[in-house]
């Protein structure tokens, strides 16, 4: 059982940056905004499953934008989430190549987020490809890289959790090898290289 917490916009931004508060903040986002965002997808040719995917993508993208200090608070969080959802859903519709006239009209009315946020959403497109390549790494590599880059654990903390590695230096070497392996897979993926090049161009 979780205590339901409420946040102002500024409070929510701070909570999302704090690992200890993040889950409570995400739950708040779901309670406050899920219905509105789901409704948007449902009203624009999407199913409930589509809405579930799009809203999850929206919330992850929003947290990342906040973490990277790219949410400038010029609009309310409600408007900002709505704009991300529109962007994510319209991108998905474009991918599906829908010829539906209504979708075309919505496409024309697509919101644009400020540059930093919009570029982040473009980046997320190739994140998906990298994540698929990441899945091809061995168990140990995946476990280690998640501990380093997602859980933000120090090498000494990881040594405790991965007793197969004698010390921090051995672990550090392993991390380099894993990253190198991932990078090689990324370099070998032409689609990713093109997406990446275009994204860098867009970012100026």
């Amino acid at each position: 059982m979780h205590v339901e917490r409420s946040y102002s916009d500024a409070g929510l931004v701070n909570a999302l940056k704090d690992p200890a508060e993040m889950n409570a903040a995400i739950r708040f986002v779901y309670r406050e905004y899920y219905g509105m965002l789901e409704n948007y997808v449902l009203n624009n040719s999407g199913s409930r499953d589509d809405a579930a995917d799009v809203v999850q993508e929206t919330i992850v993208a929003f947290i990342e934008i906040v973490e990277q200090g790219k949410f400038r608070g010029e609009s309310s969080i409600k408007s900002f989430l709505f704009a991300i959802t529109r962007n994510v859903w319209l991108t998905e519709l474009r991918k599906r190549g829908s010829a539906d006239n209504r979708n075309k009209n919505f496409e024309k009315e697509k919101d644009i987020l400020d540059e930093g946020a919009a570029n982040h959403l473009i980046k997320r497109e190739y994140f998906l490809v990298i994540q698929q390549l990441f899945e091809k790494l061995g168990d140990k590599c995946r476990q280690l890289l998640m501990m380093v880059y997602y859980e933000n654990l120090s090498m000494s903390e990881i040594v405790d959790q991965m007793p197969g590695y004698q010390n921090e230096q051995v672990l550090r070497n392993k991390k380099y090898k894993c990253m190198k392996q991932l990078e090689q897979m990324m370099q070998g993926n032409e689609t990713l290289r093109i997406q990446f090049k275009n994204a860098l161009k867009n970012a100026g």
């Binding site: 995400i26 779901y30 409704n39 992850v60 947290i63 009209n105 009315e109 990446f196």
Partner: protein
């Protein structure tokens, strides 16, 4: 061109494992060497994608939890009072309810006005800045810069106006506290949409026109507009319209 930096160096930089001097030297090279910069961006993307994957799993767990909570029927815990206290308990509850309802009513009546209801329901509308004509781009940019007076000037100077122009002008009028002008602009969109197959901002216009009516104190028209929206569950602003308190609208009817 192949630079002298290994992937290990790039990862050290990304993971903040370099000394201050090493870091400065590396950053200087990043600015000068486009190939190195590209490799660095590639590695950085890998790190961010891994972080993003973890975050997605974290959000996914909460998503599951939320979905389960939606399906869970509300558990009502009923308390059965002893026979001899039923009347007393009923009277107590009734008294509390009367006090609470009348207190709430007085509070609501005192604090509800056109603007308070409008403000609590308004969502700031964001628009894109991707349009063909230079004049249109200018209007979009002015709107995004919140320069609403300039939007109206540019709008008035435009000879050929489409639904989008009227919509941006209407939003600007709302920001400028000119609800009657906003209403006229929204009504123009309705006229244009009625005359063509290419309909734009239909749902948006329904909702924001209702808000403009509230702001202008034209409550009967606002109610009619909101009823149209709430009669259609597929309407984009169904939830937003549903959330506007009918009690408050009644209060405004009386006050206006």
């Amino acid at each position: 061109m192949q630079d002298n930096y290994s992937d290990e160096n790039i990862i050290q930089y990304i993971d903040d494992e370099m000394t201050v001097d090493e870091k400065q030297a590396f950053e200087k090279l990043l600015q000068e060497d486009a190939v190195l910069y590209g490799r660095y961006q590639f590695m950085l993307a890998a790190k961010q994608a891994i972080r993003s994957k973890g975050l997605k799993e974290q959000v996914g767990k909460i998503h599951q939890e939320y979905m389960q909570s939606l399906n869970r029927p509300a558990v009502a815990t009923t308390h059965i009072p002893r026979k001899h206290s039923i009347f007393k308990a009923f009277m107590r509850v009734a008294a509390v309810l009367i006090l609470a309802v009348s207190g709430y009513g007085v509070f609501e009546f005192g604090t509800t006005n056109n603007n308070s209801l409008y403000e609590s329901s308004f969502i700031d509308y964001q628009i894109e800045v991707v349009r063909g004509a230079e004049q249109s781009q200018q209007i979009d940019s002015l709107y995004n810069a919140k320069n609403y007076n300039a939007v109206i000037t540019a709008f008035n100077a435009k000879t050929q106006k489409d639904q989008r122009d009227y919509f941006i002008a209407a939003q600007s009028y709302l920001h400028l506290d000119k609800p009657e002008e906003a209403i006229s602009a929204f009504q123009q969109i309705e006229k244009l949409n009625a005359a063509t197959d290419s309909k734009y901002f239909v749902d948006e216009t329904d909702f924001y026109l209702a808000l403009a009516y509230i702001k202008a104190g034209r409550i009967s028209e606002a109610e009619k507009q909101l009823n149209t929206i709430t009669s259609n569950k597929q309407h984009l602003f169904y939830s937003n319209a549903k959330n506007i308190s009918r009690v408050k609208l009644e209060i405004l009817q009386i006050k206006n």
